[in-house]
């Protein structure tokens, strides 16, 4: 058991670290119990803190069409990111790259046609 003493100091260190962390928390807790009586109230516990009472319901419901619209927008927004460098480098591209890009655009167009037929683009 030659290695045993070297593990003992780890245990001591862990204990000291725990006491070091917990002691201020316990002291603060004790101080709060004696010298900081809690005084909750409806105003104090209100979640909104700009001075005005919060009007209406906080759980606002979004129209589900919004998410479909946002998703379709996001896809074509990202597509623009690819299309711009493609357009800039168009003259120097080999045929394979153009075909690959065509496939990419056609895939997205297919998605757009599908979404269109599903009625996503019409706000209900």
């Amino acid at each position: 058991m030659a290695g045993a003493p070297s593990y003992l100091f780890l245990a001591v260190l862990a204990a000291v670290a725990t006491v070091f962390c917990v002691t201020p928390l316990v002291l603060a807790r004790l101080w709060a119990r004696w010298f900081a009586p809690p005084k909750p109230g409806p105003e104090k516990n209100a979640p909104y803190e700009c001075g005005l009472p919060s009007p209406g319901e906080t759980g606002v419901r979004f129209h589900s069409g919004y998410y479909l619209y946002a998703l379709a927008f996001l896809i074509f927004d990202v597509e623009m990111l690819f299309l711009l460098p493609f357009a800039v480098a168009y003259a120097g591209l080999p045929a394979g790259a153009v075909l690959a890009m065509l496939g990419f655009v056609l895939l997205l167009v297919e998605g757009l046609v599908w979404a269109w037929r599903k009625g996503v683009l019409e706000w209900q």
């Binding site: 900081a36 009586p37 005084k39």
Partner: protein, 206 residues
């Protein structure tokens, strides 16, 4: 602790203190104001927090945008009747112990707008004001002076006994009633538990 013994010990290089003094020393030197300006006095308050006047020298530079983290409410400016319920509500949301500085003539009494229909004639109608700073607006030095006065007041507060501050009393109210908008004035027009103006007694001969 006996003062003579304390000075005798300090001559020998022994520093003595009490828990109460330590507590008051630390909290009076880290008085965090609410980041809350109402009118032109707020400009002077901002100037006091900038490099030239530097309120950080007195430990009060940490302006908190949330009332939950603030110790001190500097009512800096004209309190309109529209704004008064908001001020009281913000004060209610501050944790104890909390202090109020009424900065400028408007916050003290309504100031030049006292005769107006829409201005509250002093925030002390609803809140317990600790320090009044006169001026229109007060200079940043005046705000610093008010802060130092408040620090001296905090330093003199005791944690126990009959004269302990309001925040340490369990029976003291947690919240002050927030006024509501009435047809002509705020309802109620003042909080009778807070606002006790001195009654001037004049004898008939005078």
């Amino acid at each position: 602790m006996d003062e003579g013994l304390r000075s005798e010990l300090s001559k020998q290089g022994v520093f003595t203190t009490t828990l109460q003094d330590l507590y008051n020393w630390s909290r009076r030197n880290s008085m965090w104001p609410l980041n809350f300006g109402l009118a032109c006095c707020a400009i002077e308050m901002i100037a006091a927090s900038m490099a030239r006047f530097d309120i950080a020298r007195f430990g009060a530079e940490v302006f908190r945008p949330s009332p939950r983290q603030a110790d001190l409410m500097i009512v800096a400016g004209t309190v309109t009747k529209k704004m008064a319920p908001l001020v009281v509500r913000l004060y209610n949301q501050m944790p104890e112990p909390k202090y109020v500085i009424a900065m400028g003539a408007c916050a003290i009494s309504g100031g030049p707008f006292k005769q107006g229909y829409n201005v509250l004639k002093g925030i002390d109608r609803y809140l317990p004001v600790d320090i009044h700073i006169p001026g229109c607006p007060p200079k940043p030095e005046a705000l610093l002076h008010g802060l130092i006065q408040l620090q001296q007041k905090v330093a003199a507060q005791s944690l126990t006994g009959e004269d302990r501050p309001r925040s340490l009393r369990e029976d003291a109210p947690a919240e002050f009633p927030v006024p509501t908008y009435g047809p002509y004035d705020l309802q109620p027009p003042h909080n009778p538990e807070v606002w006790r103006p001195p009654v001037v007694v004049r004898d008939a001969a005078g």
